[in-house]
Structure formats: C-alpha cells, structure tokens
C-alpha cells in the first residue's frame, strides 16, 4: 500500500507570503513600540516612586527616632518658649544632654547644587562632661535625617515641641510638621 499524503502541498505552504511577513512585522513593531513606551513610562514612574519611598523611609524613620527621643526626655533647654530654632537641646531620662543639630552633608550638597544637611544627634554625658573644657567625640554622632534643607524646633509649651522640616530630593521636595510631648517630665525619685 502506498502511503499518500499531501507532502508536496505541505512543502508549498512552509514559507510565508510577503503580506504575512509585512503584517506580522508591522504588528510586532506596533506592539513593541507600545510595550517600550509603557515600560519606559513605568520605569520613570518607578524611579520617581523609589525616590519617594526612600525619602518617606528617611523621613518616617527619623521622625520616629526624634519622637522617641522627645518622649523619653525630661526637659527642653533650647529653644526657649516661643523661639523657632534650628537646634534642639534636651535633658534626657538619665539627665544627660541630647543636642539635635543640622550638619552640612558636603557630598550630597555638591550633587544637589544647594546646601543639604543631616540632622545629627550628639549625646553629651554629664559624667564625663567638663564645662571648662567642653569636648565631643564626633564618632558618637548619630544621623537622624538626611536630605534636610531646613529644620525648625518650636517650643509651643514647656512640654511640647513642634518640629517643621523641609527635605529636598532629586525631583521633588517634602515637608513635615509634627508635635512631640515629653513623657518624662515628672520629678525623679
């Protein structure tokens, strides 16, 4: 028995017609362009979103740290009531000084093109502190915020500090305002 199948006809249909190739090429080009546009737009959005997220993380983590420090403190020395100061100086739960102050971040300032600061925490221990020869070990500086453009501490009442801070990122600016109240304001035993 001879096996008959349409091999010759099949072979004839293996190639593509010009119309098929053109149609497929145009279709693929159109889809490719739209995917590329979508992907490039999404990529830009993603970069912006990532920067936003990093700034949000920087701000919220710093805010939590600052709030925890304020809540654990006993007294605010600077600013005085009503003053709007870039520096916050408090007496903490062990009666040591805690000073929050902005310090210029040189590499980031160069990158951004305007002065950008870090909010640093200096913990000045009374046990070793000598007022006649005050000194501070810079290696003990702790960074609370980065990308800081400006910060103000405002003592609204003896127990409450209002913090306003401005941050600069590559593509946008952020601002925060929050209150922190001392929770250690009672007398010690």
């Amino acid at each position: 028995m001879q096996l008959i199948y349409n091999k010759p006809e099949y072979r004839q249909n293996v190639g593509f017609t010009l119309v098929e190739i053109l149609f497929t090429t145009i279709l693929v080009a159109l889809l490719g362009t739209s995917i590329f546009t979508l992907s490039s737009g999404a990529n830009k959005t993603q970069i912006k979103a990532t920067e936003d997220l990093q700034m949000q993380a920087n701000i919220l983590t710093g805010q939590n740290e600052l709030l925890r420090n304020i809540r654990e403190s006993r007294n605010i020395v600077v600013p005085r009531p009503g003053e709007n100061s870039p520096i916050l100086c408090m007496i903490d739960k062990t009666n040591d000084f805690r000073v929050f102050l902005p310090i210029k971040d040189e590499p980031l300032s160069q990158k951004m093109g305007y002065p950008v600061y870090k909010l640093a925490l200096c913990n000045q221990e009374m046990k070793t502190f000598n007022i006649d020869n005050p000194a501070f070990d810079k290696s003990k500086l702790k960074t609370i915020f980065t990308n800081l453009k400006k910060i103000n501490f405002w003592l609204t009442n003896p127990n409450t500090i209002t913090v306003t801070a401005f941050f600069g990122a590559q593509q946008r600016e952020f601002q925060i305002i929050f209150d922190g109240a001392l929770m250690n304001a009672g007398e010690h035993e």
């Binding site: 098929e20 979508l38 919220l60 925890r68 007294n75 100086c89 000073v99 007022i131 000194a135």
Partner: protein, 402 residues
C-alpha cells in the same frame, strides 16, 4: 486551503507579555504599599500603648489608690485593640505610692515595649491628674519582644540612679545654656559647635506666634474646599496660567509643569507681566521702556519681547519707575518694592475713569485695590528685604483673577 501563518501566536504572545507586565506593575505597587505600612508601625504601637496606659490609669480613677486592682499582686492581661494586641502588667514598686506599668504591643507581627514608672499624687485642685511620670522608656523593634519585665525594673532603677547623680550638674549647665545670647554660644558651651553647621544668628532665634511658616514651599492648587466654604468659585492654577497667557514667558518646552517653578525667585520682569495682564492694560507696540531704561534693549527674542512690552505698558501707566534710568528686570522682586508697586496700582485704579470700564472690571479693580491696601503694610513690615517667589506672584493672580 487556509494558511495558518504566525499572526495568531504573535498576537497571543504580545497579549501575554502585556498581561505579565501589568501583573508585575501591580505587584510592585503592592510591595510599595506594604513598605509604607511597615514604616508607621511604631506610631500605631505607641497609640495602642497609650490607650492601654489610659485603661490602667482609669482603674485608679474609679477605684482610688487604696482599692487599686494591683494592690495585692501584679495585674497582667492581654487585649486586642486597633488591629493590634497589648499585654499589660501593672505592679507596685518598692517605694510607697509608686507603681510600674509595662505594656508590650504586638502589631503586624512586631513587638514594641513601653515602660512607665508613675507616682500616685492625689491632688484636690486637679483631680483629673492623679499620677506623674517618674520614668518612661521605649524599646521599639526587636528589643520589644523581651519578656523580662524584672530586667526592665532593674534598668529603670539604674537610669534613675544615674539621673540622680547628674541632677545638680545638668541643671546648673542647663541654666547657663538657657541664658546664652546666641545659639553659637549654646553649642560652644556644650562642646558641640561642629563644622558644617548652618549660619547661626548672633542673637537668639526669633519668637514665633502662630504656626511657624512653611518656607520655600508654596501651596499648589487651592483646594476646592476653600472655594466651597467661601462660596466663591476660584479658578484653578491651570486656568490662571491660561488666562494670563503665562506660557509666553514660561514656554512648555522649558517649563513642562509651572508648579515646579513655584519656589524660584520672581523677577521684576515677570511681575511686570503679571500686573499689566491683571489690570488688563493694553500691551503697547511702541516701547517707551527702551528709551527710558538703559538695561532694556530692543530684541526679537520672544520672552524678552514680552517682558519689554509689559515693562513699557507698566511704565506708561505709572506702575514702575525704575531707579536712575535702570529697570533691573532680572533682579528678584523684594517685598518692600512690591509695596511701592502696590501703591502705584492703587493710584492707577483711583485715576481710572469709571466711564471707560465695565461693571465687572470696576468690581475687579475694587477687589484689587482692597487686596493691595491690606498687603502693603505686610510687605513693608515683615521681612521687607526678602524676595518674592513665582508662587507668591501666582497666588496673587489666583486671589484676584475672579
């Protein structure tokens, strides 16, 4: 016979690729949301801890000290609130009228520990406050899962002992620091005058009443709620930009979104355009400003041409005079000069013939006159030498362009 080709598989693959792309994007968004949620866990945990502490203090209010629930033995209980869980322990301290409250909060599978040592002080004058805090500390994150409550008491004892040792010295230094005349002296006294500090004034910081100003960031579009409460329909920033043809000086090719330049300084040229267009002064083709101001020269450059026309119109109508035949158009507009300009605007409005204006225009002039009158003292007295921003100028247009 119909040829099959590869069109259908190509379309299928493309659809699949787009589908996968959308799924990836939505996953990314979910993960971003999760990270935001994670960041605020401390604040949520603190809210739960404060609510738990209020419960413990309410127990004292209702039962009084002699009948307190932890009088004979510590009280320990667990409760779920605000989507989290707290575990509270209240117990007497060895000193009379002193007690400890430890609250461990579990939120989003994380633990936070809050500790209070409180003193019961019944006060007949203020019966709402029966306790004062002697010591408070917090352990966020990993340290919060400690179940060693006795260890916390020992830490509190140690910190309070240190506080006692430091008490006299710290208060003596605090008094010295508090009386210093400048922040530089404060930092010097404390030994933390470090390099890289911002420039600090030789005087103490200014006293602020009301909310501290949010500098350098101007409001974006006015929220609808303001116009709704005032019952006035205010235009949006976009409408104002179109109405005053501002793309002529901020071409979209250079400034795709005008909101991004709100914080940059406002030049005298830009303000001339704003004011001339606000007062609907015809922009003249012969340019007297070129003859009168040495720093204004004829040009075909479109933006500068718009500036020259606006300055000429403003000059012709007595709104700007310049200084020694110079206009200083590229300089930033300072507040005290803005006050002078507003005085000229009032004079212009007062000299305007009512016959030449429609009722609508007269009403608008009346609003501008009243606004200018209220703003002049503000510009003259508060930071007179500081510069205005594009945001300030647009705010003026938003306010007055109704």
């Amino acid at each position: 016979m119909q040829k099959k080709g590869y069109i259908f598989p190509a379309v299928l693959m493309a659809t699949l690729a787009i589908g996968l792309f959308i799924v990836t994007l939505s996953q990314l968004q979910k993960s971003t949301k999760a990270q935001f949620k994670h960041l605020n866990e401390y604040q949520r945990a603190f809210n739960i801890a404060c609510s738990a502490l209020v419960e413990a203090l309410a127990d004292l209010q209702t039962k009084q000290w002699n009948n307190r629930s932890f009088k004979n033995s510590p009280v320990v209980y667990t409760k779920e609130i605000y989507g989290g869980q707290f575990n509270l322990k209240a117990e007497n301290h060895s000193v009379e009228n002193v007690f400890n409250v430890v609250i461990r909060v579990k939120y989003s599978e994380k633990y936070f520990l809050f500790y209070w040592r409180l003193k019961y002080v019944p006060d007949l004058i203020d019966f709402t406050t029966l306790t004062i805090p002697l010591y408070h500390t917090q352990f966020p994150g990993a340290k919060g899962d400690s179940s060693d409550f006795d260890g916390l008491n020992a830490k509190a004892d140690k910190d309070l002992e240190k506080a006692s040792e430091n008490y006299i010295k710290v208060h003596k230094i605090a008094e010295i620091v508090n009386n210093k005349d400048s922040l530089n002296e404060v930092l010097q006294t404390l030994g933390v005058k470090l390099p890289g500090l911002p420039e600090l004034s030789d005087n103490r910081p200014p006293i602020v009443t009301g909310l501290p100003p949010f500098e350098n960031l101007k409001p974006r579009d006015l929220p609808d709620i303001i116009s709704q409460t005032k019952g006035i329909s205010k235009p949006s920033l976009k409408e104002v930009i179109e109405k005053f043809r501002l793309p002529e000086i901020y071409p979209p090719t250079k400034v795709p979104d005008i909101r991004e330049i709100l914080t940059i300084p406002l030049t005298r040229f830009e303000l001339a355009v704003y004011v001339v267009r606000l007062l609907e002064i015809p922009e003249i083709s012969d340019l007297p400003a070129i003859e009168n101001f040495n720093d204004i020269t004829p040009t075909e450059e479109p933006i500068q041409k718009t500036f020259n026309t606006a300055v000429s119109s403003a000059f012709e109508n007595g709104l700007v005079q310049g200084w020694k035949n110079t206009f200083f158009g590229k300089e930033v507009m300072v507040r005290e000069h803005m006050a002078i300009l507003l005085r000229n605007v009032i004079t212009y409005i007062d000299n305007f013939s009512p016959n030449a204006a429609t009722t609508e225009q007269l009403n608008k002039f009346q609003r501008i006159r009243s606004w200018a009158g209220s703003k002049i003292p503000e510009y003259e007295k508060i930071n007179p030498t500081s510069g205005l921003s594009v945001g300030d100028g647009l705010e003026m247009l938003l306010e007055l362009s109704m």
